[in-house]
């Protein structure tokens, strides 16, 4: 029960629902006929929180064996997230080519290429294709080099 999908989905919904309510309440609520910006978020957040609580109760009272949350394997997600962050950091100041290289290098541990040769081949051909399609083909004004 403690590690069931049912329970943790409920927790997730409850958290976001409460966030919707708490933040929504800081905006003007208005009346039913003239709703302020806070009304709808609080309503949606409230419904979501109720669903979350129902799910948690269902998890706590269920007699069946519940499906467990699948184990998190952090290596993949960490490298992929890091690669996106590095792309977003590099693309403005250093241009597209550097950003693509940074993206490919940072994500490399996740997809594990076979050796340096293959890695270089992938990085270079991808850079070429992207420049060809986006900059030359679609004519999007992007800075390529620093």
């Amino acid at each position: 029960m403690v590690r069931s999908k049912e329970l943790w989905t409920g927790v997730l919904f409850l958290l976001f629902g409460c966030a919707g309510i708490v933040v929504g309440l800081t905006y003007e609520m208005g009346s039913l006929s003239r709703m302020g910006p806070g009304f709808f978020p609080v309503l949606v957040g409230g419904t979501l929180a109720v669903i979350g609580i129902t799910s948690m109760v269902r998890a706590a009272t269920s007699h069946r064996i519940l499906e467990r949350v699948e184990p998190f394997r952090l290596s993949g997600i960490v490298w992929i997230t890091a690669s996106l962050i590095s792309f977003s950091l590099f693309v403005r100041p250093l241009g597209l080519i550097a950003a693509i290289l940074a993206l490919v290098i940072t994500s490399a541990p996740a997809w594990r290429g076979r050796g340096l040769g293959e890695f270089l081949l992938i990085a270079c051909s991808l850079t070429g294709i992207v420049v060809l399609i986006f900059v030359l083909g679609l004519g999007i004004p992007m800075k390529l080099l620093p």
Binding site: F13, M35, F40, L48, I51, F72, I77, L103, G139, M142
Partner: protein, 503 residues
């Protein structure tokens, strides 16, 4: 005849060289990515969305539609030859398709799948041409209460139809609504849920959310399961020409599959996956020799393939004429239209007849392209399906990031995508489907607007939703769906049919 003039207008638009090229490009790209295992239409569309922003609206939507049904077709090729469905709507094709391929009749299975898809595509196109104007005329009468009830129905049904608990599906849709309304409120000018972050003032970039939830999560999922399917062996294509007996059996299957698929496509939430499973079950039920199924029955290939293609086409009807998408994929198409400055809805036929009829005609042409161009390329597609993951992964990442960056030349969108990737990863581990989320995300602002306006008209009395007859009927249907969802028999059938990811 009005409809003939409309179709003529459509063909005039679709046969324009530029649009023909977009259609061809879309169908081919869709097939190319569709044959890659695990990459369905949702991932394909979210990666390729930014490419279409610079195009004229007609070209963009024609290409996106082509990607969509091209991916549906590509998925069946790998299902038959490698027993590896390119996406969830062709899972059921594996059953009899791969059996046929093992007996050396893979070529015939592929030809039948292509012909059945073509037949279903043509029927679907005709249905759009016939039903679209009627539905949009009816929808012109819709006021805010009707629109609100319709959107609520779409959210509940999509939530209910995905694999797993219907309550969780609806919760995901609500969560999507909550994320969808982030940004400046159009009525009051108040910035909501932005926490002072400048990049959020215009709301969360829709493409960033889609790329994070679908493309990134798919990559990460593949990284985690990569070891499992290291060895892939393809059956040979063999001959292509089916026997007369096979054609006779397949024809019946294709017709029944088309009927089942067209129905499920119209229904919000069901989509291609449910359609193909339902068609297979129907086929088995009506067959005089049900024992042949699972051992290479050709109608077991024809029927689900016809069904998923028919559903792919008819799903456009509610999306375009009501402005209310029935599935995650259609939500992406709707988002693309909105970015193009076109408001889908009943007025689309009056305001953008070229776009609507051009799309209808291009779908027919696209289906023809699928048969004429892609069938001879079968051997190429089976090679593509075996592209190693270490090439695929960086390619998807680079295309997704560059495409996303081109939208507003702002690195913030990439960070948004990364954040949605993390969120999507949590959803994946919790077994929550992201399709209702993206639907809620797109519908969120419209849902709020119509809710507010309804209560303004009703002077604060919520009974307005049940005193308007159409709205009341829609809410009644929604309530019936909710009750059905709780019934154990229905739930079991649904769980069987939705194993896997919603396309």
């Amino acid at each position: 005849m009005d409809i003939l003039a409309n179709i003529a207008l459509g063909f005039a638009v679709a046969l324009d060289w530029g649009n023909l090229a977009y259609c061809f490009l879309g169908v081919t790209l869709g097939t190319l990515i569709g044959v890659l295992p695990g990459l369905g239409p949702l991932v394909t569309l979210s990666i390729l969305l930014p490419l279409t922003f610079g195009m004229p609206a007609e070209g963009a939507i024609i290409m996106l539609a082509g990607i969509y049904y091209g991916a549906a077709y590509g998925g069946s090729t790998t299902a038959i030859l490698i027993n590896l469905p390119g996406e969830s709507s062709s899972v059921v094709t594996c059953i009899d398709g791969y059996e046929m391929a093992k007996k050396g009749r893979g070529g015939q299975a592929l030809v039948v799948a292509a012909l059945a898809s073509f037949f279903a595509g043509c029927t679907g196109t005709l249905l759009i041409a016939a039903l679209g104007p009627t539905l949009s005329r009816a929808a012109l009468q819709f006021g805010s209460p009707e629109n609100f009830s319709l959107m609520l129905m779409a959210l509940v049904m999509t939530g209910g139809m995905v694999h797993g608990s219907g309550m969780h599906g609806f919760g995901m849709a609500l969560l999507g609504v909550l994320f969808g309304i982030v940004g400046t409120d159009i009525n009051s000018g108040v910035e909501r849920f932005t926490f002072g972050i400048l990049g959020l003032a215009d709301g969360i970039e829709f493409v960033a959310a889609a790329i994070g939830l679908f493309a990134l999560v798919e990559i990460i999922r593949n990284i985690e399961i990569r070891q499992a399917n290291a060895e892939i062996s393809a059956a040979s294509v063999g001959g292509l020409m089916p026997t007369r007996e096979e054609l006779r059996r397949a024809a019946g299957g294709a017709v029944r599959g088309t009927a089942v698929g067209s129905f499920f496509g119209l229904l919000p939430g069901a989509g291609m996956t449910v359609a193909s499973f339902a068609a297979y079950l129907v086929e088995k039920r009506v067959s005089a020799e049900p024992h042949r199924f699972g051992r290479g029955a050709i109608e077991g290939v024809a029927s689900p393939e016809a069904a998923n293609n028919a559903a792919a086409q008819t799903a456009f009807i509610p999306t375009l004429t009501l402005g209310i998408p029935g599935s995650g994929t259609m939500a992406l198409i709707l988002g693309a239209l909105i970015i193009q400055g076109i408001a889908p809805g009943p007025r689309i036929l009056v305001d953008n007849p070229m776009l609507f009829w051009g799309l209808v005609a291009s779908m027919w042409i696209g289906n023809l392209i699928l048969v004429l161009v892609n069938l001879p390329l079968l051997r190429l597609w089976t090679m593509v399906a075996r592209v190693p993951f270490q090439w695929l992964c960086p390619t998807i990442l680079v295309f997704a990031c560059t495409g996303l960056y081109t939208i507003s030349l702002d690195g913030f969108d990439i960070l948004t995508a990364a954040a949605f990737g993390l969120l999507g990863y949590v959803f994946l581990k919790l077994g929550c489907e992201p399709a209702p989320f993206i639907l809620g995300f797109v519908l969120g602002p419209m849902l709020e607007e119509n809710f507010k306006r309804s209560l303004l008209i009703g002077r604060g009395d919520p009974s307005i939703f049940i005193t308007h007859p159409i709205s009341a009927a829609l809410l009644a249907v929604t309530a019936i769906v909710c009750i059905l969802m709780i019934m154990p028999r229905f739930r079991r059938a649904k769980d069987q049919a939705t194993e896997g990811v919603e396309g």
